[in-house]
């Protein structure tokens, strides 16, 4: 008796699993066959109209696709629109989102997570928000992680300039790595080596200068696992600057520290002078 009951339960569960799998496969099949569906209709429509070769999307002629598309469309109304979007539209749609929205979308469900974590989408966003450089780079953990790391470094780099604006020596001493190999080359051309000398040099700078207001532009960051370097241009005022700046950071104990700063006067040519005037 028991074994028969057990068999019935097992059979029912198996049947349910099979039905769910079938449903899942059908959903995937529809969301994966967009171009061929569209192409199929265009091609068969063209064939019905005339015998000439039309340059519509190539597709696989399959009568079942007609019924399938209609069924899929029916299932869509009232069901999840985002999930039923064909891949080519999804990728295009993702390109309209900013990074917080893309992240929040990935948190909605597993299908959205896969779509919104798409490597190419994050690479495109990286190029849009940061730089077109590094196009040939293949980040070790994928482009989403690389975008996240870049955003973290760019924020920290901005923090460096805030500290200078506020002339807070306490913040600056916290910002640098306490080590003997750290170096700082100020715009004056003086090199300071080792943590203590570097912090002292900033103390001097803060004592002498009034609050400076400057613009930072063309920030380019290259982020590796434990090290990052950032180049930028700073524009102060007509009298001083603009400067080429390079900052280098190291990652220790869960945070980034500055280990190198180098500022040098930018060689002025006609193009740069024009930029300054229009700044």
């Amino acid at each position: 008796m028991d074994s028969t009951q057990y068999f019935l339960v097992a059979a029912t569960v198996t049947a349910l699993c099979f039905l769910l799998a079938l449903h899942a496969v059908r959903s995937i099949a529809f969301s994966r066959a967009p171009k061929s569906e569209g192409g199929d209709f265009a091609t068969s429509a063209a064939k019905r109209v005339c015998n000439c070769v039309c340059s519509c999307n190539g597709g696989f002629a399959d009568g079942d696709m007609v019924v399938g598309a209609a069924a899929a469309a029916e299932r869509v109304t009232g069901a999840s629109m985002m999930e039923q979007l064909v891949p080519e539209i999804t990728t295009h749609a993702l390109s309209y989102l900013d990074y917080p929205s893309l992240c929040r979308l990935s948190m909605t469900n597993s299908l959205m997570r896969k779509a919104a974590n798409d490597d190419n989408a994050w690479k495109a966003l990286y190029h849009k928000d940061f730089t077109l450089e590094q196009d040939s780079v293949t980040p070790a953990n994928g482009w989403k992680a690389y975008y996240a790391a870049t955003r973290a470094i760019v924020n920290i780099n901005a923090e460096f300039f805030n500290i200078i604006k506020e002339r807070s020596i306490q913040a600056m001493s916290h910002f640098w790595r306490n080590a003997d190999y750290v170096k700082c080359v100020h715009a004056s051309g003086e090199l300071f080596s080792g943590y203590n000398a570097v912090v002292q040099s900033w103390q001097l700078a803060f004592n002498w200068e009034h609050g400076v207001n400057f613009q930072v532009r063309d920030v380019r960051a290259r982020v590796l696992t434990d090290m990052a370097w950032v180049t930028m241009k700073t524009f102060v005022d007509i009298d001083s600057g603009p400067f080429n700046v390079t900052n280098i950071y190291e990652f220790h104990n869960g945070r980034w520290y500055m280990v190198h700063h180098h500022s040098s006067v930018m060689l002025m040519d006609a193009e740069v002078e024009q930029q300054l005037v229009h700044a």
Binding site: P34, E37, G38, F41, A42, A45, A46, R48, V49, C50, C52, V53, C54, S55, C56, V66, A69, A70, A73, V76, T77, G78, A79, S80, M81, M82, E83, Q84, L85, V86, E88, I89, H92, A93, Y96, L97, D98, Y99, P100, S101, C103, R104, L105, S106, M107, T108, N109, S110, M112, R113, A148, R151, A152, N155
Partner: protein
């Protein structure tokens, strides 16, 4: 193949057998239809079995408005804004039709609208708006929260 575009009429038939006649200039806003016209395949009625009458009418209205030279820039902007005030089912249908018919301007506008519906919303709100079912386990939810924490300082 006709070279004077001003007189040619293109006939279209939706999935629910409604026919529409539009000027060639209007029809070729759709890259798909433009290719057909250029290849000389648009002499008879073109069947569009995966676009229904309601949606096709909307798309053609859009195309007509964009070809009309008497419409000012402001009018066009207002038209586009009102045009996209649709429920989700229509928005989806429009999206699929704009993609299939390859009407670039319309596709961009609809995608922008969908993006605007997502922007600034929390995941629970996004799920509600788009009827997305949450299929994460509590462990996965935590994993995902950590994975995305960097974006929400």
């Amino acid at each position: 193949m006709s070279s004077s575009k001003s007189n040619k009429i293109v006939k279209l038939e939706s999935s629910d057998n409604k026919t529409f006649e539009v000027e060639e200039a209007v029809a070729v806003q759709s890259e798909t239809l433009k290719n057909m016209v250029d290849d000389g395949c648009a002499n008879d009625t073109i069947p569009l079995p995966n676009v229904n009458g309601k949606i096709l009418e909307m798309v053609l209205g859009w195309c007509k408005k964009h070809v009309d030279e008497t419409v000012t820039g402001d009018e066009l902007n207002k038209y586009e804004a009102d045009f996209l005030d649709l429920d989700q089912a229509d928005l989806y249908g429009l999206l699929m039709a704009a993609n299939f018919l390859n009407v670039k301007g319309l596709l961009d506008r609809v995608l922008q609208r969908v993006a605007d519906m997502i922007k600034g919303k929390k995941p629970e709100e996004i799920r509600r708006i788009f009827n997305i079912k949450n299929d994460f386990t509590p462990e996965e939810e935590e994993e995902i929260r950590l994975e995305n924490a960097w974006a929400f300082d």
